[in-house]
């Protein structure tokens, strides 16, 4: 379950950074900037994934440890994300996609 | 003499030091007094009031320091600090339970 919530946090971070103009440009230097509305959708997706991962942690580990773990992981993942955006922005979408596939298949297996 | 004094008071190092003292020492005294007042005025029993006062004291301290540094006039800072400290000290003395010292 920790793996799943870790993936969800990562996907959330990717979506959140895509909702910011500067980082969208880093991931897609050629593509035209999407409209503000579409950027906002990315933001909603991002927060949804983060919320999802929080709830998984809380259900799995209880309020105390769940939240501590979530904040700890979010810190590390967001830090890695900011390094990726700087040095290897072209890796983000593939990794995000693999993460998504991983999360979906993980959920299917455990269900 | 008077002119010398104003000269010193306008020196940068004096201004910096004075403000730092106001924040650190003045802030500490006022923090303690207000935390004590809080522990006197809260409705529940004294042990938990004392605990509350101690637990929030650092937030009060931080607030005072921020205030000291956000006010432009240093004289105003010291005036306000000293007046508040005096008022708090008087109320604290009045409210202090008898015979604890």
């Amino acid at each position: 379950m920790i793996v799943l919530s870790y993936l969800l946090i990562f996907i959330g971070c990717v979506a959140l950074s895509l909702s910011m103009k500067r980082h969208f440009k880093q991931c897609y230097p050629q593509r035209r900037m999407p409209s503000l509305k579409n950027l906002f959708i990315f933001r909603i997706i991002g927060f949804t994934y983060l919320l999802l991962s929080t709830s998984i942690f809380i259900v799995e580990q209880g309020w105390g440890i769940g939240l501590v773990l979530w904040f700890g992981l979010l810190t590390i993942v967001a830090f890695l994300q900011s390094l990726l955006l700087t040095y290897k922005p072209q890796w983000i979408m593939p990794i995000g996609f693999i993460g998504l596939v991983g999360a979906v298949s993980y959920t299917n297996i455990s269900l | 003499m008077n002119k010398q004094l104003t000269d010193i008071m306008q020196k940068e190092s004096f201004v910096v030091l004075s403000r730092a003292l106001a924040a650190i020492i003045g802030g500490y005294v006022l923090t303690n007094l207000s935390a004590i007042l809080l522990s006197y005025l809260l409705p529940s029993q004294s042990s938990s009031n004392v605990m509350t006062g101690m637990v929030v004291s650092y937030a009060i301290y931080a607030g005072i320091v921020i205030w000291v540094y956000s006010v432009k006039s240093l004289q105003h800072v010291w005036r306000c600090l000293l007046i508040t400290i005096t008022i708090c000290a008087v109320i604290t003395t009045l409210l202090m339970p008898e015979g604890i010292f």
Partner: protein, 565 residues
């Protein structure tokens, strides 16, 4: 120049942020680094006592208990307390503890005082094992709030003061940061001070919940020392009144009766195990102890390994005369909302409830805190360095901070590496070896602080960074090698036997070494680039520099360092 009084709120907060930070940066950095290491205090101690026998899972706790009790009866037949720690959870050895009445303090009216003794036991024979004396991870952990070489109370006050500066730094940092969420992931590389600012922001904002929690709870830990006014104003001065207050806030969970002076035979400690194992299952005891030994009021206390949420696990208290269960506790109870807040914050700070993953997250967050302080120090210097380079001269203050930065940021880490080296190199029976381990930490740190001054005339500040980073890379990188040469708990054995704690220590040192080597390499590349651009305008620059020497008497020329290379 009243920069602090002019301008708007944000401006004054910026001033406060900068100077509150730089004023205590060195101590804060020290606190963050040693505190982070403290999250692995038991593991570090384990590594620093390589004689500790490897845990054999085949031996059950009750038979360990029999051995421990036999040994205690031999070495401490008259002790009023016996304690045994089992190698479970984050304990890595079977150890026994007992107090002995000794006259220690001459100034204490010759009063008898307890001196604690401890031994590590062999799991099969129960005989004591000679483990080397070491400061271990606990000394690092203890230093992060009590510092070293000064009375601990003074240490508490100093670290609390620094934590207060840190709190101010955090609040003002939030105020002056214009776009916390917009810049959440932003790190622009290769842009001099902007990159440092971005990194400082990233290292501050991402772990912000951790930073706020760790700072405020750190203050709360020491509040009985640093905020005694509130307590005194309601309970009065003196130790007795203080104890009255503690009795009121801490609900006595276990039944701890005092001795009555009537001698009685006590049951053996291992005899309670069947009942305990029925309640908790096999092998779940983390410690067991007997208090008031030999008295009719003697009792046996056991703690369960593991945690229930943030709270420590269950404990059981037995009557040591008839073996009846006196009390079974489950977690702590709080007497008030403030007490709950205090408990939660201090538990979060210590993170004792953490499993391996969470412990690593704590460690990394702590290091990010150290990185936040370090980047703040570098940012301070690099901003003024850019300005100074434009003007052609730098102030003494800037040069001082630039040199202190290297000696602090890399130097402390070199000091800690030396601490580990000393542990392996000092002879096992060296007198006061545990103190000399720590002395070597501070001696080497002092050397790295002095080094920039000793070589200032021939090496640029960038070169000094490269030097110290290289030294750090070598010291950390060779630690596993040293471990291989001096002990048999080296990577070859620990990896094969799956001892991930000891192997993890060596591997972590290798990772640190790679990080330092990489930084040194990048720094060297940067220095070469600077040199290349300087060489083209060498003549012009040195002329300018010389002019500056003449025109400014008190200011020290900065470019000269680079030019003369």
């Amino acid at each position: 120049m009243n920069t602090n009084t002019q301008g708007n709120f944000r401006q004054s907060m910026k001033w406060l942020h900068t100077w509150a930070g730089i004023a205590v940066a060195i101590i804060l950095y020290f606190m963050f680094v040693t505190g982070s290491a403290g999250y692995f205090n038991d593991e570090i101690t384990y590594w620093m006592q390589p004689e500790t026998p490897t845990v054999n899972n085949g031996i059950d706790q009750q038979s360990m208990m029999v051995l421990a009790e036999k040994r205690l009866a031999k070495v401490a037949p008259n002790a009023t307390q016996w304690w045994v720690n089992f190698p479970i959870g984050r304990e890595y050895a079977l150890s026994i503890w007992w107090p002995e009445k000794t006259k220690i303090d001459a100034d204490n009216d010759g009063k008898m005082d307890d001196e604690w003794h401890d031994e590590v036991l062999d799991l099969r024979t129960g005989e004591p094992i000679a483990v080397r004396k070491t400061g271990g991870g606990n000394t690092l952990y203890y230093m992060h709030y009590a510092l070293h070489y000064i009375p601990s109370v003074l240490g508490y006050w100093l670290t609390s003061l620094c934590a207060m500066f840190m709190l101010i730094g955090l609040i003002t940092g939030i105020v002056i940061h214009k776009q916390i969420f917009k810049d959440f992931f932003t790190f622009r590389a290769g842009k001099k001070q902007h990159s440092w600012r971005d990194m400082h922001n990233v290292l501050s904002v991402l772990p912000l919940p951790f930073h706020i929690m760790i700072t405020y709870s750190g203050l709360l830990f020491l509040m009985f020392t640093t905020m005694p006014g509130v307590l005194t104003a309601s309970y009065g001065p003196g130790e007795e009144n203080r104890d009255r207050f503690y009795d009121a806030i801490y609900i006595q969970d276990a039944v701890h009766k005092d001795t009555v002076g009537i001698a009685a035979n006590n049951i053996s400690l291992s005899s309670v195990f069947p009942d305990v194992e029925q309640r908790w299952g096999k092998g779940q005891v983390s410690y067991i102890g007997i208090e008031n030994r030999g008295d009719i009021n003697a009792h046996i206390e056991l703690g369960e390994v593991g945690y229930d949420g943030l709270e420590s696990g269950r404990s059981l208290t037995y009557n040591a005369v008839n073996g009846d269960l006196q009390h079974a506790s489950h977690g702590s109870k709080s007497s008030s909302a403030a007490m709950t807040f205090y408990n939660i914050m201090t538990m979060l700070h210590e993170g004792s409830f953490s499993g391996p993953l969470l412990r690593w997250l704590y460690f990394i967050s702590g290091l990010m805190g150290a990185g936040m302080i370090a980047t703040g120090m570098i940012l301070w210097a690099s901003k003024r360095r850019e300005r100074a380079d434009k003007k052609g001269f730098a102030s003494n203050g800037l040069i001082l901070i630039e040199r202190l930065n290297v000696g602090t940021i890399v130097g402390l880490l070199i000091g800690i590496a030396t601490y580990f080296w000393a542990n392996r190199l000092l002879p096992v029976n060296f007198a006061e070896r545990e103190n000399w381990e720590i002395h070597s930490l501070f001696i080497s740190w002092a050397a790295t602080l002095a080094y920039p001054y000793m070589v200032a005339h021939k090496r640029s500040i960038n070169k000094i960074w490269v030097d110290q980073l290289t030294i750090a890379a070598v010291l950390y990188g060779l630690l596993p090698v040293l471990n291989f040469l001096t002990t048999n708990v080296h990577l070859g054995n620990t990896l094969l036997s799956g001892n991930w704690v000891l192997a993890g220590f060596d591997l972590t040192m290798l990772v640190f070494s790679v990080c330092f080597a990489f930084s040194a390499y990048r720094m060297l590349a940067k220095e070469k680039k600077v040199m290349a651009t300087l060489n083209t305008s060498n003549v012009k620059n040195s002329k300018m520099a010389r002019n500056n020497t003449i025109t400014t008497d008190k200011q020290v020329i900065l470019p000269i360092e680079k030019v003369e290379l």
